[in-house]
Symmetry: C2
Subunit: 426 residues, 2 copies
């Protein structure tokens, strides 16, 4: 890369280009991914912008961003179609010409050969790139990325130039390109370094959690504490800024204080999600698990199945939407179904036991409830869920009243299922 770029990056921002993002047809996961990577690298990022495939607005945006930030990462608009204009527009902002790039052309030809597809004329465009630039190869798609300098003077520095990094739109291409090509470059350019810990809490709301550490937040200098809430759980990010690896450890005393204040609400100090914590406990204990899912209809199983290697602990599940399946496959008695109903402690217990017998796993978990929007009553409102867990020591049941729409009820229930597994295995 250009010698001029070897300077510390004090600030970054992200521009995601694409009318499909601007119209809300595609969910923008790139901005969050890159933001997390920048945070890990210790590069402060202050802004994310979504803008359509419009040359004039994009050109203005690149110039504006380049003038106030040292690094501007763009995603999207590198595709082969006529509305993909990011590469030309960024080159224009930087005052660079476009030139045919032999190596990228050869890579493109190979991709089309491998998939046995015919290269259309508009694909050719993806081998025409700014010059000079550092070209970033794309091992998962046809569009190469690029990194180059964009002169953009500002009030403080008439020599100011931002580094532009252009990546394609599809997340499945962005992630490997960032990992292989971008991160190694940025690691050299980060201005500070951080020691960071994430403290994950369950069973306490964001507001109550913050109130409990208000004195620590008010007094914070280094390390800092920031609360984050997400669906059904919350988190504190504790960050110590360091100059060298020899700096004294200020994180551990703060984490110890949080442990005292939150006790069993803490399910993880690290980056694992609740399901990963549960999975690791299952793996460490050499336990197998199965599920009998009704209202979650496979969401718990699917979430566990997301984890590579899930099959080492996960045997299988029965999704029993229909009561007939609860009876015929899981062995829930007609008496339970008629006396207590499918959404009841009794049914949850019988489902878990039946599932464990059928699947022959060390642990079986059942979920039955009312996800809504229909099917609720005064006695059994929407959001009422029973979860039971069965192992060699017995079977126990837990009642929960979730709040929110169908999707939220199912997601919060899924989180609680993994929490129940975690608590059983601790």
């Amino acid at each position: 890369m250009d010698e001029k770029l070897i300077k510390k990056i004090r600030s970054a921002e992200i521009i995601c280009v694409g009318t499909e993002l601007l119209m809300g047809h595609t969910l923008n996961t790139n901005a969050g991914y890159i933001a997390r990577e920048l945070a890990e690298l210790g590069i402060p990022s202050y802004r994310q912008t979504v803008i359509g495939d419009n040359v004039d607005r994009l050109l203005l945006q690149i110039k504006e961003s380049a003038s106030r930030s040292d690094l501007v990462i763009l995603t999207g608009g590198l595709g082969p179609t006529t509305d993909d204009l990011t590469m030309e527009t960024a080159a224009k902002a930087a005052g660079l010409p476009m030139a045919f790039h032999e190596e990228s052309y050869r890579a493109l030809t190979k991709i089309f050969e491998r998939f046995g597809r015919v290269m259309t004329e508009n694909n050719m465009k993806q081998a025409v790139l700014p010059y000079p630039a550092e070209i970033l190869p794309n091992t998962n798609g046809t569009a190469p990325g690029a990194m180059f300098d964009c002169p953009a003077p500002n009030d403080e520095d008439p020599q100011h130039a931002a580094s532009l990094i252009l990546l394609p739109g599809p997340p499945s291409e962005v992630v490997p390109m960032f990992t292989l090509s971008v991160r190694p470059i940025l690691e050299e350019l980060a201005p500070f370094r951080f020691r960071t810990a994430y403290v994950h809490l369950i069973g306490i709301g964001e507001s109550a959690a913050e109130t409990r550490v208000k004195d620590l937040i008010d007094a914070q200098i280094n390390p800092t504490i920031a609360p984050y809430a997400s669906e059904g759980e919350c988190m504190f990010r504790v960050t110590q800024r360091i100059d060298t690896d020899q700096d004294p450890d200020l994180l551990t005393p703060m984490l110890d204080e949080l442990k005292i204040r939150f006790g069993e609400h803490i399910y993880e100090i690290g980056t694992r999600s609740m399901k990963e914590v549960a999975y690791d406990l299952l793996l460490a204990g050499g336990k197998t698990i199965s599920f009998a899912e009704s209202c979650t209809s496979g969401m718990v199983s699917s979430e566990l199945g997301d984890i590579p290697g899930a099959s080492r602990v996960f045997t299988g599940s029965v999704i029993s939407y229909d009561n007939r399946i609860k009876r015929d496959v899981l062995g829930v008695s007609d008496e339970i179904l008629s006396s207590y109903g499918a959404v009841s402690e009794e049914c949850a217990l019988a489902m878990a036991q039946g599932c464990r017998d059928l699947m022959k796993t060390d642990i079986a978990v059942s979920i039955t409830g009312i996800a809504g929007p229909e099917g609720g009553s005064d006695e059994k409102p929407v959001g009422l869920v029973y979860m039971a867990i069965s192992d060699s020591e017995g079977t126990s049941v837990q009642k929960m009243q979730a709040v929110g729409n169908r999707m939220r009820v199912r997601r919060v229930t899924t989180l609680q299922v993994f929490n129940m597994i975690r608590k059983r295995l601790l």
Copy 2:
């Protein structure tokens, strides 16, 4: 609302406030949701910005956005904690004082009573709001929203003022507030109106699809055609701008042309997703369905279960990660498992038949494959998937080679399963 606001909105932008968004800890779904709503309303939106909980930067951003757009919708930062500063900052940008709002205070008190929780002092803050403003009640959370005028002269109009609309952060609060309070206001203020149709395609790539209609796109004036690609499928948005309902229908001739060019690649002209198309066909045909899932591990069942009323067609599923479940629960023979393996045509066929026998449904679908990243071989690479469908007319199997990581393989497979159901029911 303020009389001054009764003017046509020519441009809008969205600002999402929250350090958790800026750091990438929370996925930004609000921007996309509001963008889609604005598009439906015929209000052009040109920009989405994510910014942290920082008063100075937020104030600058609001002023900048207000000066170039007629409408600025903000989400986030209305919570009770000390870093929630959007309401005060927006009031400051608009030059409005903050005042105690009796009605919002009463609503807050009621919410805490209903959940039997104690109101902390920082919750009180949510009843202190800009004055004068249109207060938007929040039926799903503690933070009310607000709408007010923000004077922001620009080069073209020294009298320019933008309408600011402030909404909370959680999507489960944003959606009902937008629907109940915001949309009715904006309907009156949209500058144009549109007739829009979405043409959803499967089995053809974005580049090939665009090439096939390049002449139409190059010649477009009204209606316009825009292509969008997402995982495993692509879409055209066809939009006719109209002045009155009496304008001649220019959409139908264009849709007829697209039908001729894409034929069976079109699975939907409308807003339904593939799974909704499959669900509606099942419902219309009075058919019940069950699944035997291996590599998708419940994702197909969970996706179908997302649809309210899914239980009308969906009986249940067996997730058979372990071969023992394929054999003992689904009745796949040892011979098939040992001679052909779990990932084979033969196993998929036996799983579908066994599932249909067990679940007693009209249709059963099986999925077995290698999601990766481990478990692949030269003969059976990662991404190889077999899907079989069984009904009273017989059982057939389909082979697919998916490309991408574990999540993508599972998601593209799930899409193809619903497509297979759709094709069987047509």
